[in-house]
Every structure is written in C-alpha cells, then in structure tokens.
Amino acid sequence: MSTAVHGHTHGHDDHAHHPTGLRRFLTTTNHKDIGTMYLWFAFAMFLTGGVMALIIRAELFQPGLQITHPDFFNQMISLHGLIMVFGAIMPAFVGFANWQIPMMIGAPDMAFPRLNNWSFWLLPPAASLLVVSLFVPGGAVAAGWTLYPPLTVQMGMGMDLAIFALHILGMSSILGSINIITTILNMRAPGMTLMKMPLFVWTWLITAYLLVAVMPVLAGAVTMVLTDRHFGTHFFNPAGGGDPVLFQHVFWFFGHPEVYIIAIPAFGVISQVIPAFSRKPLFGYTSMVYATASIAILSFLVWAHHMYTTGIPLEAQLYFMYATSLIAVPTGVKVFNWVATMWKGSLSFETPMLFAIGFLFLFTIGGFTGLVLAITPVDIQLHDTYYVVAHFHYVMVAGALFSAFAGIYFWLPKWIGRMYDEKLGKWHFWLSFITFNLAFFVQHFLGLAGMPRRIPDYALQFADFNMVSSIGAFGFGLSQLLFLYIIVKAIRSGEKAPARPWEGADTLEWTHLPTPAPYHSFETPPLVK
C-alpha cells in the first residue's frame, strides 16, 4: 500500500504542556487523550451492560422466576441493549478513530479539537441518564432496546430519560462524525491520496457518513414517542389515526445502518491486523473499499427485513428479501479477501491475530445466519426467537467486540510504549472464544425449537440449553476481568515495547513515529509517496 518516504523522526522529547490530573482530561483537546477516554468509558459501559447480561442469564439459568420480577427483567434486557450498543461498542470504535486516524493519515490532530472534547463529554451525562433511570418511579425503559410503541407509551419516567439520553448520544455521534469526515478529507499528509489511506481510515470515513445520515432519524423517532407520551400527538396511536408500525419503519431506517456503523470499523481493524501478522499486503485493497461502500449503501435499502411479520405487503417482502440477500455479496468479498491475504503469507499468531481469526470464523457464522434470516419465509418462523439473539450476538460480540480486542492488543504498544503479557493475552482469547460459543451457539437451537426472545421464564424443553448458555455467559463475563488485568498490568509494569513490535505493520504510526507515540505527533506532515 502506501510506502512513506522516510522523513524526519521526532528527535525531540515529548513536549506536552498540559494540566495534570482531572483537569487534563476535562479540558484536553488532544486526540490521544480523548481516544483514551473514549476507550475507558466504553470499557466501563461494557462492564455495566455485562452485569445486566449476567442478571438476565442468571434468571434464565433454570425455568421459573428465581431472582428477578418480570418487569425488572424487561428493564435489564432493554438497558443491556441500549448500553452495549450506544455506550460500549460505538464509543470504543470512536476511541480507535481518535487515536488512529490522525496518526494514520499524518495529521497533527483532529480537525476540530475542542469539538472533539465536547463530543466525548456528552457521553457520561447520557450514560448516567440511562443508569439513573433504573431508580426513578416505574423503573427504566422495559420495552426492549427497539423501543416499539405503544408499549413505550405505557412506560414511566425512565422512558423519558432514555429518550433524552438517546438525543444526547446522537448529538455526540453527529459532532464526532463531522469531525472525523473533515479530518479525513482535509488533513491528510501530502501524497496520502484517498486510495492510499489505510483501510481502517476508509471504513471510518464511510461509517461517519452513515452516522451523520441516520442519527437524526433515530432522534426523530424517539422525539415522536416523546410527543405522543406528553404532548397529545398521535403518531403511533391508532385511536388518533396513527400507526404503531410507522415507528418500526423509522426506527429500522436508522437501525439497520446502525448495525453497519458497528460492523464497518470492525472490518477496518481486521483489515489492518491480518496483513500485519501475515507479513503480506492486504489482498484486493480496491475491492475492499468498494465492498465497504456497497455494504453502506445497501444498508439504507433493507430496513424492513426486521419487520417481515408486521404484515407488510407481499411485494415489499419480496423486495426486502432480495435486497437483503444482496448484502451477502460484498460481505463475502471481504471475507474472501481476508483469507486470500493470509494465503501464502508468513503467519504468526500473537493475540491480535488470534482475535482477528476468531472474528473471521464467528463473524462468518453470524453472516450466514443473517442470510438464513434474510429469507422471508424462514425469518417468519425465526423472527423474535433466540435464533435472532444468537445471530446478532455473533455479529456484535464475536464481530465488533473481538475486533476491538484485536485492535487494542495490536495498538497498545504504540499507545503506551509497553507490551501486554502475551501468554495472558492468549488465555484471554481462548477463554473468550470458548465461553462465547458456549453462551451463544446453543441459542440457535433454542430459537429453532421455538423459544421466543425477551421472556423471563420458559418451557421445560428449553431448560438444558439455557443452562449451558448461562454457564457460557458467566465464563465470558469473568474472562473480561482477565482482560482488564492484562491491560492494567501492561500499563503499570509491561515490558518496554520495541519501536516496531510487529514486523508486518507498515502504516505511518509504525513507520514514522517513535514508540510510544509522542503527545503531539506529525506537527510537520510526513511526505507520503
């Protein structure tokens, strides 16, 4: 890909003039500080949402109601979804974008550093609203993360807090995205043409456009719920001439691109990690860019495949079935390209590569079940069952989360100048991989056999697989504490990282910056040939 002309190196030491302690992080405009904050925030939310997941799995360990009241159970499933999607996965990848995009394109910082600070500091209040909503009268939103009315109109004050939280999160995402688009379009180093950019940067450019396009739609949908609840409108109330299904159309017009907002940066990380550990350039760079763009465009045209059972007309079902199946083509191209990158490489299997291969395996399974669910008659059987739960956890957890792990292990030496414990990293991968499959693979069987999702109690024939799933889920949750330990250990006492810890990594941050990266990097842009 891009071979950079070897320019100057930063001979001078880190000359950071910034306040220390809390004020440093409150007032920072540095993309590296902000990236770090995004990542820690995401991890905190990941643990919060994870505890909720474990409450869900503990209740489902055996038939009968043991530890939760059904209403609290519904609050758990709703908040788990909202917190994991908006609080954990999305901010994690924004954290990667903050750290990596300026370094990968040879820019000194993001285009709007102060805006960047604000984009981050919008998140903690929004997340607090979601968590605090558990303690208001009536409890948190209990209508699922999809917030379908009319159920959302019955909710208590927790629903209003969730709506405000989504407004704030949406604002943060839009501002962050505009910042990212501007940075990528305007701040590239001389010679860094669009088609020379690392694929991670490309995926974020596309993701940022998706975010700008759909976050206002979500804001619109939840605002309509808000006015229906309090200001006498009847958008979704049939008694006043409204239509509950209208919400689903609007929500999924946001919701389906949202799936790719989460998946596409994950593709980007994987596209950096696999070539680095194959010691071979990414196969089919151009087709990867086009495939990513096609996926993004198609994602706007398939929303109603989440609504096959609402009774949309036959013609619409046929169209959405064909359009959805079509997404399998560019997705397949990406998987084939990754495998071709590994083919005849010189492979080594450090932790980032293990997570990337794990991603490849499990994301492909999630893609295949997605194809099964795209086929309308089959989906009508499987809609709203555990099969769907299994499907999207393969895409969200084994897809996005595994790729985030791959990215963190991959770039951690560059960020902190220290190595993580390779042996423990491998333990983390294998524990996560095995327990993840234990937790979610059996859910395919539960869904096929007819277990609906979002139920706190179930019939006896589902008992054994639910028990397996709960054991897997607890194992997966505990494995993530090992991850926290590995990171803290690396920061406090990790071995000093060499300048190029990965011999196959060839993007600007590895070739043109010392390790760890200085507080201000690329104040003079490098020249890229």
Partner: protein, 408 residues
C-alpha cells in the same frame, strides 16, 4: 401461482412421516426438535423446513470451503515453519469470480424462497376465519365465518403461579398450557385475522408455521392448514410488557366429527352469561368466584396479597379506590386508568362479563384488610356499563364484515 401445487408435489418421504406420526403419536403431539425447527404440521411448514435445510447446507458447504483454505494456510503458511510471505495483493479475475458465484447461489436460494413466500401470503379460500385479539396478557378468539361461527372466548395461561415461583413442581406443559385452547378441524384452511387491544403482540404457533404481529388498530391476516390431529403449542412472540412470557397459545386440531361436536357443545355457551345475570348471588359466592377471576386477571400486578409492587403497581389492600364508593372502582375496571392523557398498565377489563367483574370487585372489597362486607352485584356492573356505553363483547365492537374487509 397455482395455490395448491405444493400439496400435489408432496414427497413420499413427508407422506410417510405424516402417516407414521398420525398413526403412532398420541393426541399430544409435542414433537419437540432439539437441534432444528419443530416438526411441521402443514405443507407450508414443511416447505419452510426444507427451505431452511437447503440454505443451511449451502452455508455449511461455503463455510467448509472457505475455512478449509484458511486452515490450510494457518498450518502450512506459518512463520514458525519457515514459510516466506509471497507479495501478490491483487487479482481481478478472482475478485470477479467470487463476486459472481455468490450472486448466482443467491438466485438459486431466492427462487424457492419466492415460491414459498407467495404461497404463505395467500390467505384466500379459507374454510374458517377466526379473529384473534392480543391483550395484556391473554388471547381473545372469535370465530367469524365457517363452522363454529359465533363462538368466542378468551384463552389465558393455566399454569399455576406456584409453579412459576417454584413452590410447586413444574408440570409437563409448564407455561405452554391454557384454560381454553383454540380448536380447529384438521385439513381445513384456517385464516387467522390478527389484531391487538393495547400494545403489540404476535400470534405464533411454530409447528403450524403461522406467525403474525398483532397491531392495535390494524388487522392483519395469516393462515394455516393442519395436517394431523393433536395439540400444538406456541407463545406470544412480540414483547408486550411484564407478562409477555406468560401468554401461550394452544391449538387443538380435531377430526371433522369431533370438531362438529365441539362446536355444538360450545355454541350455546355464549348465552350463559346472560342467564347468570338473573341469578341472585350471595356475598360468599361472589367472593369465591372473584378470587378465581382475580387469580387470572389481576394477580400478576396487584399480587396475591393485594400489596402490588411498590413504586410500580399500586396495592389494593387498603387502597382508597377499593375502600371508596363502588362507582369509582367500577369505572376503574371498566375503563382502565389514564394518567396525563396516556394509558397506564391498568387497562380496561370491560371484556369480562358482568358476573366476573362484580365478583372480582366484591372480592377486592372483602379480601385482605378490606372487610367492607358489601357485595357489588352483576346488576351494578350492568348499570355502570350502560351509563358509559362499553359493550361486553370480546374483541371490540367491529363487525365481521369490516374485519374481513380490512384484513390483508
């Protein structure tokens, strides 16, 4: 499309399976698959089952192919065995090949899927039409046309609360049993027109391959044609609030003769409520009856001890409404509670009969510490109803004709 082509094309295999099952299975045909879709009991279900199998095999073959190549690379092209990296990174021919081939495979899947879908959405030519209404949290059935026309009833969870809380052992059909199952004849096309009274629900019986969201204010249709007699079980499939996991569906598929008998037994039953009104009820009778009604309709929120869930569902024990004038309490159960212009979890229970409402109101006014000693009679309920004009008929007031017209 020829609608019945599916039936004539049935494979010998599925005929044999059907025959075997019909001969061997007891009336309770709970063919619970462990690793796959439930044993279908209709041609449509079989088509979907076969379609799923086809797609699974396509996926398995591609998966094995792609990851076979990857695993070969992992074993042979590793640095630790001294493999040197090649430097190729582009090949337009293979890119075109692996774009076009998946596209062709998708067309291969889309063709049978389209046929099945067109078959599935054709609700015309039904022998029997039944309107199903989702309530928080039970189902209402109303036979609109065909044999059994005029029958209507509610169907709700029959599993005792003690089994759910764990204080009694769980029965064989835990959470999948109802007080009054839906009854249909075998081999007849049954069209279900589906709607809801409050929030979204979804009517789903897996082995009959029928799932349809129930949407308040709108009527949507699905259909099934059961091929074997037996008992088939399903559940609500769309989150509808607290008791979403506790509103199962049970369908009894009977032979034509047994169905005719069932119809003759149940047709007159719809008039019994009217007879009851003229009966003079004692306080004890009302309380006893009311306790049952309470257990079916109210206990989920207000709890058996009448204390509700603090902060979420109000207590009835000592409640100002329950201890106050009857009229206010009757108004509450007939119309539900609306706060700030939006409905609350306390919905209208106007669909219960006068006797049931009188009984449950009397029960709450005499249970726990509410010892009023006063009875609310069915006549009181009737009077309260006529004052406000809320009819007792289940499933709303829409006429058969308008429902049939609106359903698509």
């Amino acid at each position: 499309m020829k609608r019945n082509s599916g039936l004539t094309k049935r494979t010998i295999g599925s005929r044999l399976t059907a025959a075997f099952l019909a001969a061997s299975a007891a009336p309770c045909l709970a063919a619970h698959a462990r690793f796959n879709l439930q044993q279908p009991n209709s041609q449509l279900g079989q088509d979907i089952y076969d379609l799923h199998t086809l797609i699974m095999w396509v996926c398995v073959i591609i998966f094995v192919g792609v990851f076979g190549v990857m695993c070969y690379a992992i074993v042979k092209h590793r640095k630790s065995v001294g493999h040197q990296a090649a430097h190729f990174h582009e090949n337009t021919t293979v890119e075109v090949v692996w774009t076009v081939i998946p596209f062709l495979i998708l067309i291969g899947i889309a063709i049978p899927a389209t046929k099945t879908l067109i078959h599935q959405r054709d609700t015309s030519g039904a022998d029997i039409t039944i309107k199903v209404t989702g309530y928080q949290w039970k189902w209402g059935y109303q036979y609109l046309t065909g044999e059994g026309e005029g029958i209507s009833f509610f169907s709700m969870l029959a599993t005792p609360r003690e089994q759910i809380s764990g204080s009694a052992p769980k029965g064989e059909h835990y959470l999948l049993e109802v007080d009054q199952p839906l009854v249909v004849p075998v081999g007849r096309k049954v069209r279900m027109v589906v709607t809801a009274a409050d929030v979204l629900h979804a009517w789903w019986v897996p082995s009959l391959a029928a799932k349809q969201d129930a949407i308040p204010g709108f009527v949507r249709a699905t259909w099934f044609k059961a091929e074997r007699e037996g008992v088939y079980r399903g559940q609500c499939a769309e989150l509808c609030g607290k008791e979403h996991g506790f509103m199962p569906i049970v369908v009894h598929v009977l032979s034509a003769e047994k169905y005719a008998q069932w119809v003759s037994e149940h047709k007159p039953k719809t008039d019994t409520a009217a007879v009851d009104v003229n009966k003079i009820w004692t306080l004890e009778e009302l309380v006893a009856r009311g306790e049952k009604v309470f257990a079916q309709n109210c206990v989920a929120c207000h709890q058996a001890n009448g204390m509700g869930i603090p902060g979420t569902f109000p207590a009835l024990n000592g409640s100002a409404v329950v201890k106050g004038p009857k009229a206010k309490q009757l108004d509450t159960v007939l119309h539900g509670v609306v706060l700030d212009g939006k409905p609350t979890a306390m919905q209208s229970f106007a669909h219960l009969s006068d006797v049931e409402l009188a009984a449950v109101v009397t029960y709450t006014r005499n249970a726990w510490n509410n010892k009023s000693g006063e009875a609310v009679t069915p006549a009181d309920v009737k009077a309260a109803r006529s004052k406000s004009g809320s009819a007792a008929a289940p499933a709303g007031s829409s006429t058969v004709a308008s429902v049939l017209h609106a359903a698509r």
